[in-house]
């Protein structure tokens, strides 16, 4: 699974990464997490409110930090 966190290193992005790690561990999913801080790339996903979360090329969440439960749901699909 390819996961991208879109954001410019704000505190919210770090929180998202932590939640994501917990969710992945609980679901036992092996995923590659890439942090993207290049603004041109971020916006090219249509995201303007960071942090954004992209799972397998699809934007799943913008402008907020989903909690572990929400993340598990997004990862499950």
């Amino acid at each position: 699974m390819e996961i991208m966190i879109l954001g410019t290193g704000c505190s919210k992005c770090e929180k998202l990464e932590k939640n994501l790690e917990v969710a992945l561990k609980e679901l036992n999913i092996d995923a590659h997490i890439e942090k993207v801080d290049n603004l041109a790339v971020i916006v090219s996903y249509g995201v303007m409110s960071t942090p954004g979360l992209v799972i397998d090329g699809e934007v799943k969440s913008i402008g907020k930090v989903p909690n572990v439960k929400e993340l598990k749901k997004m990862l499950g699909k």
């Binding site: 916006v43 303007m48 409110s49 934007v59 913008i62």
Partner: protein, 334 residues
């Protein structure tokens, strides 16, 4: 006393809190309100608590409204309008789009890549940090409805006219070229229900209060210092109505500083009490909120120096003209 005056005094101006802190200062600390130390401690405690209560409440309400206008949607709305209308909608939506200076650059790139005119984008970028519904409510509480409305109305005018100037100067070539290469992508925005919006609003309160509290305490501290320790004569000489340069001085002190309206209000309040003109105070507040060194550093990543200089010059000029205009007409306001 009619019910509206009472409501205004107790709810917006929080007279109960004023009385309560007065009791604390006089009975618990044993300090007279008339002394400098007693007066400044009262100012600090009362203002700090009042701002935090108002801030939490106001951010909650505003965020709820803002959840209807994420930047991804704002982009589509502004895109529907051309010319002057684009500037006006850019300025108006700047007041309701959730905004922190860290998101100004992705918003800038997103707007430009969506083909929005540069002028409308700048109208949005000027109005966003300068005015929002939260500042309107805070200003109402501290300075009364009339000044609050004047601040918002004039802020919108600066944003619209500033955007028009930038579009007239045809400065598109001074936007960094990579910005034009970004492809415009519209994403499906997830639908939020009522519960999601409440949740979003709560998160925003936590996030914003957590981020701005140090600025507020510094602002209240400076306010308390001005209020009780700096002699009136000094403030009057520098910023008073007698000094023809007062607005210029206030604007140029305000510009490099990075703070939002919440930290600026206690300073403005103390300056007003010292007899500084309303125009001078508003120029100071607009200078602090709209332009700052960190925000210009960020903006310099997407625009070339010439456009950056034009932007700073236009906004500064707007703020200065406004300040002098308001000082001239202040008899209508107070």
């Amino acid at each position: 006393m009619n019910i509206f005056t009472w409501l205004n005094d107790q709810l917006l101006k929080m007279k109960w809190l004023w009385d309560l802190v007065e009791l604390l200062v006089e009975k618990v600390f044993g300090l007279s309100m008339g002394t400098r130390i007693g007066g400044s401690i009262h100012f600090f405690i009362y203002d700090a608590i009042k701002i935090f209560i108002l801030l939490s409440l106001v951010i909650f309400i505003i965020s709820f409204i803002q959840s209807y206008f994420p930047p991804e949607k704002t982009k589509k709305i502004i895109g529907r309008f051309k010319g002057l209308k684009g500037n006006i909608f850019g300025a108006l939506l700047g007041t309701v789009t959730p905004f922190c200076s860290c998101s100004s650059i992705p918003i800038f790139i997103g707007f430009i890549s969506a083909g929005l005119p540069l002028g409308a984008t700048f109208s949005f970028l000027i109005s966003s940090p300068m005015i929002d519904l939260a500042s309107l409510m805070l200003l109402m509480s501290f300075f009364g409805t009339r000044i609050a409305i004047v601040y918002v109305a004039l802020g919108l005018i600066v944003a619209v006219i500033g955007g028009i100037f930038i579009s007239k100067l045809k400065m598109e070539k001074y936007v960094e070229s990579y910005v034009w290469d970004v492809e415009n992508v519209d994403i499906e925005i997830e639908k939020m229900n009522h519960k999601d919006r409440v949740e979003f609003a709560k998160e925003q309160v936590k996030d914003i209060v957590g981020r701005v509290w140090p600025y507020i305490l510094v602002g209240v501290g400076i306010g308390a210092g001005i209020h009780n320790w700096v002699p009136q004569s000094i403030i009057e000489r520098i910023l008073g109505k007698g000094n023809p340069f007062s607005v210029l001085i206030a604007t140029f002190i305000g510009i490099p500083i990075y703070a939002d309206i919440f930290g600026t209000i206690p300073i403005a309040e103390a300056l007003m009490a010292k007899g500084v003109g309303i125009g001078t105070v508003i120029s100071f507040m607009m200078g602090v909120t709209t332009l700052s060194i960190p925000s210009l550093v960020m903006l310099s990543k997407v625009v070339k120096p010439r456009l950056l200089v034009a932007f700073v010059a236009i906004v500064t000029l707007g703020i200065v003209i406004l300040g002098y205009g308001l000082n001239g007409f202040s008899f209508l306001l107070i």
